[in-house]
Symmetry: D5
Amino acid sequence: MLYAVTMDVAIPHDLDPEVAASTIATEKAYSQELQRSGEWRHIWRIAGQYSNLSIFDVESNERLHEILWGLPLFKYMTVKVQPLATHPSDIALLGGADGGGQASQAG
Amino acid sequence: MLYAVTMDVAIPHDLDPEVAASTIATEKAYSQELQRSGEWRHIWRIAGQYSNLSIFDVESNERLHEILWGLPLFKYMTVKVQPLATHPSDIALLGGADGGGQASQAG
Amino acid sequence: MLYAVTMDVAIPHDLDPEVAASTIATEKAYSQELQRSGEWRHIWRIAGQYSNLSIFDVESNERLHEILWGLPLFKYMTVKVQPLATHPSDIALLGGADGGGQASQAG
Amino acid sequence: MLYAVTMDVAIPHDLDPEVAASTIATEKAYSQELQRSGEWRHIWRIAGQYSNLSIFDVESNERLHEILWGLPLFKYMTVKVQPLATHPSDIALLGGADGGGQASQAG
Amino acid sequence: MLYAVTMDVAIPHDLDPEVAASTIATEKAYSQELQRSGEWRHIWRIAGQYSNLSIFDVESNERLHEILWGLPLFKYMTVKVQPLATHPSDIALLGGADGGGQASQAG
Amino acid sequence: MLYAVTMDVAIPHDLDPEVAASTIATEKAYSQELQRSGEWRHIWRIAGQYSNLSIFDVESNERLHEILWGLPLFKYMTVKVQPLATHPSDIALLGGADGGGQASQAG
Amino acid sequence: MLYAVTMDVAIPHDLDPEVAASTIATEKAYSQELQRSGEWRHIWRIAGQYSNLSIFDVESNERLHEILWGLPLFKYMTVKVQPLATHPSDIALLGGADGGGQASQAG
Amino acid sequence: MLYAVTMDVAIPHDLDPEVAASTIATEKAYSQELQRSGEWRHIWRIAGQYSNLSIFDVESNERLHEILWGLPLFKYMTVKVQPLATHPSDIALLGGADGGGQASQAG
Amino acid sequence: MLYAVTMDVAIPHDLDPEVAASTIATEKAYSQELQRSGEWRHIWRIAGQYSNLSIFDVESNERLHEILWGLPLFKYMTVKVQPLATHPSDIALLGGADGGGQASQAG
Amino acid sequence: MLYAVTMDVAIPHDLDPEVAASTIATEKAYSQELQRSGEWRHIWRIAGQYSNLSIFDVESNERLHEILWGLPLFKYMTVKVQPLATHPSDIALLGGADGGGQASQAG
């Protein structure tokens, strides 16, 4: 089950630099482990922002929350969650058939 | 080069139903052709909305604009564009090396 | 899996009154069928608004979208979706044990 | 009488960790006592947020304010209150009769 | 039980003038009847706006919704509802006693 | 001359508790003196918020500003001011006559 | 007593051109009459907008509302009202004295 | 050339009181000098706010920026700038002629 | 004197297509004439939007307003104006000297 | 490839003045080097703001992000990025030909 998640990071300017550095290092390892397990499907930097756009593929809302709550930088983030569904225009829906029956949801 | 694009569709309630239906059908074909060519990499429905989140992979801002401007439903859409860059935590950056040198941009 | 959904309804003032009336009647039947099946767990009117706050219990984002997209009044609604998870303070988590181990997520 | 209440929590990053921990523990006990008494009917975590959506069932605006003002984390919260009323499509309104007379408020 | 309600009115410019005029006349009678019954305690025009700020004194959220939903101009209004409680600085709380015990909620 | 004023209070969490307490006590006395003089006609707590909605009856904008600027908690408040006028539906306008001549401003 | 008023005008594109033209002409005469009487002290066009910023000098909130409500274009306007007071840095406050006693309100 | 400028002041609560006081005193002198020179034409307090609305009459955008950037309180201000133009309804445009030729821009 | 202007265009979907086409053609000619005269220095399409970002170089606010007001599409536009000034980091300020004296305004 | 970037700077008032000064000096040098290389095509101060509007001409989203992320003041900035495309009314498109074929995108 897919979710688009946007994370905007704002580390307080008066945070101890060592705490900041170690939190950021832990964040990277945490993210990469979930990418390897397949639950964190995509992560992109939004150009010009200390933000990322990520796609998660998890079994439930519970699991999504567990992952996000556990982010080492969570307390410095503003997070936006959008649950996703299949789009009727997605060519992945097309097998041998033409998919023409779902035109009413295009856009 | 990647871009995240959100399209919110609002078809006027007094639009001629035949015009609406044929525009939606054209939209679907237009999207699928670009998916097949590889420029429209992902399209997801945002659950509960007449909106999609899409990822485009195009050569330039010019080409992105050309594609979006040409959308049959463009005049009924509110479009948001976010240029994307590689995220330093992306495991795709990891080859045989450890990637540890870029921890400073995690999050 | 639970979702909070807010639906704000704005029926165009120049919509044919008969179309409006029959759409509203269909909406009611549609909602009640889903309440009976258990997927539409709660529906409340937000006082002073043509809006409702609803709680859905469905198996996936796909199913949630299917239900909302099918609402007879969907085209006249602004819909907000919030995926929900268990709250660590929820007394439903307390069996014979004391639940004290999860205090860190309270609030 | 029902109210939907959304609480967004933002604990200052420079708050003494012991103060934070004890406040969070007190918050949990406070919430659970009110859940047991029946006034705090539901509490859900909003996935990906340090926020909850709660349903209160209290006798008056006065009582609602007293409860919210007394929350140990109140000073770190942004609170949104929505008074609720019965929705005409709610199947709880249906006894042996068909409830068809209130279709005009559906949606 | 008190509620502050703000009503912003926007009558569509293409509404039949006779329908508009009769709806406005009905609105006035409706409001005045509720003022006489004591439920609509105050109504003020917000200077420079087609808006009013009103104070309602009703027995429940249900009753408040019933009144607002029944407003002849309801479909042309944007309505904001704020449930009210007694303020600890209100001198109405002062009888023979000094009221000093509630200073912590002033402001 | 009437004004509706909303005051949202946000006391910095790191303010000296004694300073906070004494400021709050002074605020209460200041408010009650103006209530007794008749200039601060109403003060209500907005349920669930550290906010109040107040009605002032003063001779001028100058006087209103002088009162608000002098609030002991002013520096911690976000203040919203709305000048008020008589509403044409107000039954206070009705003497022996019917008031029917002002229907055009109802709502 | 002074007020700053911003008026944003949005004439519906499908309004009868003759109605629009005569309303605009009436608006101009209405404004000029009030400028001559001294109540409408300043009117400036906000560059690039169909908007004006005006300063009114009237005896009360009631009179301000009466003027604004009577604007021929009122129904097509979004109006913002800000009551004004004397600024402590205003040199008009300086007579033979130095005015230094009010420095605490500068800014 | 005229500009409307709104300045909202927010002095940090933990700023050294002596620094605050001397900055405010300097601000007042700075403003009064520019009022005397004719560049700062009007300054009004917005009632109930630590804000002013000012009208500047300067030769260029460069000069406006130089003045605002030099404000002693600039670093604590949120500033909004609106360039102004002559309004076609302004009676200052009326000499012996009737000015009727510009009715199309009224409002 | 420079101004950044953003124009968002929203042509009503029910506008006569011939009127729309001829207005758009006139708009293009109007823009190009001003580009040739040097007052409309830059015009860029904002990718994915029916919007442009333009830089104007005109002698005054009056002239800027005259140009914008005269845009054939003005009535269908939302316009945002930002007056510009020289930036202290601009290398155009550097002649033979080093420009180091203005470092305090960088950013 | 062009991008419009707006940077709003907010240096924390309690930042060490020497750190602030050296960061600002580094920012200036960084900007000027990129202006000389041709990637930072324009930089303007937005009048009355600690903000700039800049035009970048870079080869990709990646390069844009690299530049912005490397800004010495980045951590104190709110950045807005808008990818730009050629506007069909741009006279730079006109060679010997008339450019008339693209009128449909004007505005």
